[in-house]
């Protein structure tokens, strides 16, 4: 029976401007420089100290969300390894490490209209000069909180708490009605 149970997350349909992203292993890391240093070694990515920036190496990324808060994202298959390696590296260091893999759903808004679509609900200046590639931040999309991360000129990775995914996608889709078919 154990292997029979499926993971189900709120659905994200694939569209020209929207792509679902795979389930991931996510940890919320809170703590200071010591904790960041410990994680850098075990995780392979140094958590950025520059505000609102993401750092990546291979398929692993560390996102600055606050001065003492980072989000670590890794492939789902790294989950078991990290569940051991991270606490081990952080032992004795003041920190909080919490598994939030299932808390969030990730998807990508992409293409030439990505900025335009997001500007319907996000009050930030998304011009690439103001929101460059590699910038990430929590912000709002209409009435939902989202994590917005620009991964390329025309690509944004968005993570929402799972129960907000449907709302954000629905409003993006309504906006996308105006896009040329």
């Amino acid at each position: 029976m154990a292997d029979m149970l499926k993971r189900t997350s709120p659905p994200v349909a694939s569209r020209p401007w929207l792509a679902p992203l795979p389930a991931a292993t996510r940890y919320s890391l809170r703590g200071g420089a010591e904790a960041r240093a410990a994680v850098a070694a075990a995780f392979g990515v140094e958590p950025p100290t520059q505000a609102c920036r993401a750092a990546s190496r291979g398929a692993r990324s560390a996102l600055w969300l606050g001065p003492d808060e980072h989000l670590l994202i890794a492939p789902e298959s790294d989950g078991a390894t990290l569940a051991t390696a991270l606490p081990a590296a952080l032992a004795g260091v003041p920190h909080s490490l919490v598994d939030v893999s299932h808390r969030q759903v990730a998807f990508e808004v992409r293409g030439p209209h990505a900025e335009w679509l997001l500007a319907h609900g996000c009050p930030l200046d998304l011009d690439v000069a103001a929101f460059p590639v590699g910038m990430c931040t929590r912000t709002v999309f209409v009435k939902a909180e989202v994590l917005l991360w620009r991964t390329a000129d025309d690509r944004f990775r968005i993570e929402t708490w799972r129960s907000f995914t449907d709302y954000v996608i629905t409003l993006l889709a309504e906006t996308a009605l105006e896009l040329p078919a």
């Binding site: 029976m1 003041p94 909080s96 969030q104 708490w161």
Partner: protein
């Protein structure tokens, strides 16, 4: 096509004939027409009835400042837009419009009796006459007055259109695409800045759209306009927004625009929203909003056919429409002369130009041209009255003698009267931004002074008159806004350029201001010169009070055409200068904004995010009825075989009491508190003692605010020495999280603790009832579920159906209970697996309603239902949870205040109706003795009330002053059907010993 349409010229497309109806009558117009210009071209001047007196009204203006011609545009039953100005409605084929505020018809309106009564309907009439008796105001007078004085009727069907919103950012926002605005945008764009240029009209160009004979920089103005717009359009850094009104100026250069996308289309594409609300954040703003022509307040100045001279020019030059056959021109400024010359040239007979300016005016280019053309000019003139039932037919002029005495003069037959009292700069947005205004004596108007935001005005919006000067002013403003030096290019212009030329206006002579007959100042709200004079005589000094008393400037047009005239009259009446009278506040919106555009996507299912738990689809497929709890949809009950709620809840409750039920508790807030000082932190925050809570144990926690009142509650589990899993109420999750961050960041920075929200990391299935253990035993193999190994409030980690699980032995039902936490992606499958495993035990899914009954049977409170933000732990009967030895916790000090310990505080009690069949109303008041006369002395109220299936009777919780000491007393709940006697009992109705819990 009609005698009023010129043979050529204008910006209408004469090859595209559009059909439309007004009040059921069919007409045609051209593409490029507005409803107003098309009606004028058909000789229709009567467009509406006035708000208060039901006087016949025609067009006053040609733009968005129009106060009279409010119509309803109808696409279908749901798409009827009332109160739109005919001057801003773009014609499309098949357009249907109706006039408003008339019955039975526009030309014969019974409401016009108000006009005959007008001598007894002065300013403040309603307030003075209908005050007593007070109740009659609401029941009788107000509804009737509202029915008689009115605007259009809103549609009763839901709006089927979509409305979009977007945020935009730019270095320079230019409002107004007239010559100054275009020059500003061009100069700003030349620096490479991001520029947004918006204009309320369908076409960019502003005043240039009605200046065919003017030249700019040596070429026709039309060519200059086309080339300038094309260059801006080709620039990817420039956003051009036509049909877009900047309606509000909000702090920090946040400007609200509303873009109308489909109202002008014959068949709007389904993909397009009707309107889009833009929230523009601009580093700098250039306001090139132009100026609005002022009417002249003379008797009978509201008759259809009396209009602004500049509007007549616009109808002629832009739309190819002659506004009449024979005009009397009333000139309060030079622009009126120019209109007379041009209309005369276009074939409109000019009966006379009555110059009502104060003596000694220097002749401007318009006046010179009029005299050169041989038009008759009467100086020192005034207007004594007009005649004509539904359209002006005659003007009676007067002559002002050197002593100011007025003698009657000649009458002139006409079908149109053109007036111009000068131009008022549109300072609305500047003023909305809290910028100062200064009175310009030469202009006779207020102009922008010191700004409060990073904003500047340009062109006529700041009183810079003349086309070349306006272009230069705009270019300089645009360049400066973009941080560049002012453009060195100087524009040149040639030709009479109407309101743009020379001196834009001079105040009309005061003698003409307060004549005996009805001279309208505020056309839309029917405010006359006499009303303003009366207000002054009755002692109103402040312009703000006069505004409210007379309602001048308070209509949907916000006094665009009337504001300055009203000030001038008040000033003259009180022998003050206009700036001494002061100004009323310019409020947003500049022109009315639809509710749809403000609501945007926040309507229907998308009004708020709808949060669904992992088991939602399962519950929905089984016909569960949901209720909203905060943003969450929670299953309220699961009816089977057509049960109503009562039957379903009874069945669900009995299933939990006698067998086993399952309940989705995923919505509870969850916060992981981690760090070596985690227990210390919780000790300081919650009322309970956490130091002595063992690992893998949990405890019911209560959180107060520092005011001592219950704020939240929930079970808190200790997962490790330095790790707690805190649960909160569903609605309290975010505020408890914020409160924890507040204390950690700002008060207890010494603590090594961090918090993380895990609300959505976990799906939670509560399995409750005597058979709960049997069900879980089918799926859990690595945790000893026995009472000895996993007693009440114990916590274990393990696997359920192979999925990692955090298992709580907790109960909110009073029965043997577990709460299974699994990572949320497994929530749906684990829920189904538990249901499947429970089949043989008759497992029953239950909803929030049964959960509420079950917990009430046990006297467990729900924070926010049984507490209301004024209850202490003792009031709520949970004082037992207080850690007595703790030196402090949030709220502890407040509990020491004498009032917080008063024995007569309202305390939580159980209430049993003497008649067990009666279920009390939640919120009902409680009194001590029966048959009291109002006002009764209320000593408490019912907070929770249900039928209890297991007890076979109703139960209730309530708060009663000194309630615990009243145990056994009979109190009363007064209801419309009589007082309901209730007995005060313990709040625990079922299993007082708690034996079942520990099963």
């Amino acid at each position: 096509m009609t005698e009023f349409r010129t043979e050529r010229g204008g910006r209408v497309d004469r090859s595209r004939v559009l059909r439309f109806t007004f009040d059921g009558r069919a007409y045609t117009g051209f593409a490029g027409d507005t409803l107003a210009s098309a009606l004028l071209a058909n000789g229709v001047q009567l467009l509406g009835r006035s708000f208060k007196y039901h006087r016949p009204r025609g067009l006053l203006a040609a733009g968005s400042e129009e106060p009279n011609a409010l119509v309803t545009v109808i696409r279908d039953a749901a798409r009827r837009t009332p109160n739109v100005r005919a001057t801003t409605v773009e014609l499309y084929d098949g357009l249907v419009a109706e006039s408003q505020n008339r019955w039975p018809s526009l030309s014969f309106d019974l409401g016009a009796i108000n006009n005959l009564l007008s001598p007894v309907l002065p300013a403040g009439f309603y307030n003075k006459t209908f005050m007593w008796p007070r109740s009659a105001w609401f029941a009788l007078y107000e509804p009737r007055i509202r029915a008689a004085a009115g605007l259009g009727v809103a549609p009763t069907l839901p709006d089927p259109d979509r409305y979009a919103q977007r945020y935009a950012h730019c270095e320079v926002l230019v409002v107004g695409a007239g010559p100054a605005g275009l020059a500003a945008a061009t100069a700003a764009a030349a620096t490479g800045a991001r520029v947004i240029l918006c204009d309320e009209q369908a076409e960019l160009g502003g005043a240039l759209l009605a200046e065919p004979d003017t030249e700019i920089d040596g070429r026709p103005a039309g060519d200059w306009l086309a080339a300038t717009v094309a260059a801006l359009r080709a620039n990817p850094r420039v956003t051009l927004l036509a049909r877009t009104t900047a309606f509000g100026y909000f702090p920090h250069n946040n400007v609200g625009l509303v873009e109308r996308l489909t109202d002008h289309l014959e068949s709007p594409p389904a993909a397009l929203p009707r309107e889009r609300l833009w929230q523009v954040r601009a580093r700098e703003v250039v306001l090139a909003t132009g100026a609005i022509e002022r009417p002249l307040p003379f008797p009978g100045n509201d008759r259809p056919g009396v209009m602004l001279a500049g509007a007549a020019r616009t109808y002629l030059h832009r739309f190819g429409v002659r506004v009449g056959r024979r005009a009397v021109v009333v000139a309060g400024c030079d622009a009126a002369f120019q209109a007379a010359v041009e209309l005369s040239r276009a074939g409109v007979a000019i009966a006379v130009i009555a110059d009502v300016r104060a003596p000694g005016q220097v002749a401007g280019p318009g006046e010179q041209a009029a005299r050169a053309a041989g038009l008759a000019v009467e100086t020192n003139a005034t207007v004594l009255g007009t005649r004509g039932r539904l359209r002006v037919s005659q003007v009676l002029l007067g002559r002002v003698g050197p002593d100011g005495a007025v003698t009657p003069g000649a009458s002139h037959a006409c079908d149109v009267v053109l007036m111009s009292g000068g131009y008022t700069p549109s300072v609305h947005l500047h003023s909305q931004s809290r910028g100062k205004l200064a009175y310009d004596d030469a202009l006779g108007a207020f102009v922008p002074a010191a700004p409060a935001e990073r904003t500047r005005s340009a062109g006529m919006a700041r009183g810079v008159a003349g086309l070349a000067a306006g272009l230069d002013d705009g270019a300089a403003a645009g360049a400066a806004a973009a941080g560049a030096h002012a453009a060195t290019h100087r524009h040149s212009s040639r030709g009479l350029d109407g309101g743009l030329a020379g001196r834009p206006g001079a105040p009309p002579q005061p003698a003409a201001l307060v004549p005996p007959a009805k001279a309208f100042v505020d056309f839309q709200n029917d405010v006359t010169t006499r009303d303003l004079a009366l207000a002054r005589r009755e002692g109103f000094e402040s312009i703000e009070h006069i505004k409210r008393y007379t309602t001048t400037g308070m209509a949907t047009d916000q006094g665009k055409t009337s504001g300055l005239n009203a000030l001038a009259i008040v000033a003259s009446e009180s022998e003050r200068r206009v700036p001494e009278v002061g100004l009323t506040t310019f409020r947003m919106p500049f022109t009315p904004v639809t509710f749809g555009s403000l609501a945007g996507v926040a309507r229907g299912d998308a009004f708020d995010p709808v949060r669904r738990t992992p088991s939602h689809a399962w519950a929905a497929a089984r016909g569960a009825v949901f209720e909203d709890v905060g943003l969450w949809k929670r299953a309220r009950y699961f009816p089977v075989n057509g049960e109503d709620m009562h039957a379903a809840v009874n069945r669900e409750c009995l299933a939990v009491r006698r067998g086993v039920g399952m309940f989705d508790a995923s919505t509870l807030g969850k916060i992981e508190v981690v760090g070596k000082d985690a227990a210390t932190f919780l000790n300081r925050l919650y009322i309970n003692n956490w130091s002595n809570l063992g690992v893998q144990r949990s405890r019911y926690g209560i959180l107060l605010r520092d005011d001592g009142f219950v704020y939240d509650d929930g079970v808190i589990a200790r997962l490790a020495e330095d790790r707690f899993h805190v649960t909160t109420t569903t609605g309290g999750a975010a505020r408890v999280f914020a409160m924890m961050e507040d204390f950690l960041q700002t008060e207890w920075t010494d603590l090594s603790v961090w918090i993380t929200s895990t609300t959505e990391q976990w799906a939670v299935v509560a399995v409750q009832g005597p058979r709960a253990r049997d069900v879980l035993a089918r799926l859990v193999t690595d945790v000893d579920l026995s009472a000895a190994a996993l007693p009440h409030m114990a916590v274990a980690r393990g696997r359920i159906a192979g999925v990692p699980m955090l298992l709580f032995r907790v109960s909110f039902s009073g029965e043997l209970g577990f709460e299974v936490n699994v990572p949320a992606d497994y929530g749906a499958e684990v829920w189904a697996a538990i249901h499947e495993a429970g089949r043989e035990f008759g497992i029953t899914p239950y909803g929030t309603e049964a959960m509420h009954v079950l917990r009430a049977e046990k006297g467990y409170i729900i924070v926010g239902q049984d507490t209301d933000g004024t209850m202490t732990p003792d009031d709520a009967a949970v004082a037992w949870a207080i850690g007595k030895q703790k030196p402090d916790f949030v709220g502890k000090r407040s509990l020491e205040r004498p009032t917080m310990k008063h024995p007569q505080r309202k305390q939580l009690v159980g209430l049993e109706t003497l008649d067990p069949r009666i279920v009390l109303e939640e919120g009902a008041q409680i009194v001590a003795t029966r048959d009291q006369r109002p006002p009764m002395k209320m000593i408490g109220h019912v907070t929770s009330s249900y039928h209890s299936a297991v007890l076979g009777r109703s139960i209730a919780l309530g708060v009663v002053a000194g309630g615990r000491a009243r145990s056994g007393e009979t109190l009363y709940v007064p209801m419309p059907g009589g007082d309901i006697p209730v007995k005060v009992v313990s709040p625990v109705f079922y299993d007082r010993e708690g034996a079942r819990l520990n099963g």
